[in-house]
Amino acid sequence: MSWLSKVRNSLSSLNKRDTPDNLWIKCPSCGEMLFAQEFEANLSVCPRCEHHGRITAKTRFEQLLDAGFNVLPTPEVPENPLNFRDTKKYTDRLKAARASNPYPDALTNAFGTIEGAKAVLGVQDFKFMGGSMGMAVGEAFVAGVEKAIAEKCGYIICTAAGGARMQEGILSLMQMPKTTVATRRLAAAGLPYIVVLTDPTTGGVTASYAMLGDVQIAEPGALIGFAGQRVIQDTIREKLPDGFQRAEYLHDHGMVDMVVHRKDLKATLAQLLGYLERKEAK
């Protein structure tokens, strides 16, 4: 029990109803107790250590798009074609994820403007089955790109995923080439593709559309990599270097253009869209 809950529980005037669990949160990085409202007002960034907390797709839309954006429908895909079950049925896992999330799968697109510049913004939500890429994510990515092509604007994706959705087996792996077909079509249309790598982005997502941006942005401290750290450690049996697979490490190794603080992200995207504006052939 933390000192805070001890104090809180000792105060008779405060019962559980008055102190919901989410009133205070603990920074997962520095352990600081933060007043939830203030943390959210600070874009879910810890004011003490600058840890960038994971945020939902809905919050991300609100942070990056100008008011008045439209959330695009999530395309329907075949559900559980492998009839997969591990310790639970995949359909039950999907139901549970849908019950606690506002959108029907891990990738949702919205169309709107960023400081006035038109864009389609796709956001992967780690809260939905670890953001994992299955057919719904692949299909939504393609739909987001198609919308951008139709609107002649850029496509921006905020990635967050443990990797491919294992419950869809090989069909999840096939989303890697599928999404790459989409990024190629966007490029053929002469439209910008910007990737914002957020915590965490690993596995098949990193090894496909998350690494193909015209401009690659990473959020500070985000874990970004191909192989999982435990897998690497089991393979090489040595200690991983400090900051391994973090945004700053990727920047040092030339894998991303920039590491951008969340408070500057919207302005950065607007600035980049300005540079990547489509020029009609003369």
Binding site: V77, L82, P177, A207
Partner: protein, 319 residues
């Protein structure tokens, strides 16, 4: 190099026992009565029948073991048996030479192709040299270079996929493993020439798809192709390493399953008892299947090839 003549998998024990009995009789038979010959023939026939039954109903997990069999033919064997006039090409021009992915000019039925594939190695020294078929970024970047070269000179691309997965290591991450795989997949999709991929052993996740985003994808009968190894899926989804067999079944990793799912376009049959029991026959079957796909693709112009490849992958997961 001395190879053991035979190497049996766990589930082949009854066959191994029969074969051992046959061997034993053969050594004692020299110079003795005729009925031993008859006994040998009977046992050999029984062993073959048992092999046929066993291999006729392999479970997905057993297929995984066959696909990883230490004597299973690899890239270098197919180069020798299915292709001619191979000219190996090395290096990514950026960092180094990765022997986990080999490639070069080759002829199939006399026609020139660009041949690229994973090589796992066949003994300790060569397995280390080829890093067990687990490529690093430079391997995928070499593949990209060779694909672009093929596109430039109009050579169809043939890939032989056989990897547990891309190498999970510090240096691979440091040099951009994810980006290399993504770009290699993209390079497949950008080819203006026909591309046929064949999974000949293990098709392990991103490390496989990076050179398998082809117009036509074939699989050898007892090869497997999956998003994660059955062991990996077991430890992540079941939280125990013991459920690999269940994971292999649940993920649908076999050629037959993937043909039903329309992820692959054809299954190339293996000789009775698996590719390793008759590599020459396997290579001949493979060469014939690849040749026939290439002949069909040769009728398409580059725009049609690009379109067919794109549509093939866009269709996976669309209603």
């Amino acid at each position: 190099m001395s190879k053991p003549m035979k190497s049996y998998l766990d589930f082949e024990k009854p066959i191994a026992e029969l074969d051992a009995r046959v061997e034993e009789l053969r050594t004692t038979a020299s110079g003795s009565e005729l009925d031993i010959e008859a006994e040998i023939a009977k046992l050999a026939a029984k062993s073959e029948a048992m092999l046929a039954t066993t291999y006729g109903k392999l479970t997905p997990w057993q297929k995984t073991q066959v696909a990883r069999h230490p004597l299973r033919p690899h890239f270098v064997d197919y180069v020798a048996m299915a292709f001619t006039d191979f000219v190996p090409l090395g290096g990514d021009r950026l960092y180094g030479e990765d022997a986990a992915i080999l490639g070069g000019f080759a002829r199939l039925d006399g026609k020139r192709v660009m041949l690229i594939g994973h090589e796992k190695g066949h003994d300790t020294a060569s397995r280390i040299k080829h890093n067990f078929g687990m490529a690093k970024p430079e391997g995928y970047r070499k593949a990209i270079r060779l694909m672009e070269l093929a596109s430039k000179f109009g050579l169809p691309v043939v890939t032989l996929v056989d990897t547990a997965g891309a190498f999970p290591g510090i240096e691979a991450e440091e040099r951009g493993q994810a980006e290399a795989i993504a770009r290699s997949t993209e390079a497949c999709l950008a080819l203006k020439v026909p591309m046929v991929a064949a999974i000949v052993g293990e098709g392990g996740s991103g490390g496989a798809i990076a050179i398998a985003a082809a117009n036509k994808v074939l699989m050898l009968e007892h090869s497997v192709y999956s998003v994660i190894s059955p062991e990996g899926a077991s430890s992540i989804l079941w939280r125990t390493p013991e459920k690999a067999a269940d994971a292999a079944t649940a993920m649908k990793v076999t050629a037959q399953d993937l043909l039903d799912l329309k992820v692959i376009d054809g299954v190339v049959s293996e000789p009775l008892g698996g590719a390793h029991r008759n590599p020459e026959q396997t290579a001949a079957n493979l060469a014939k299947a690849i040749g026939s796909e290439l002949a069909k693709l040769a009728k398409l112009d580059s725009a049609a090839l690009l379109r067919q490849r794109e549509d093939r992958f866009l269709a996976i997961g669309s209603l």
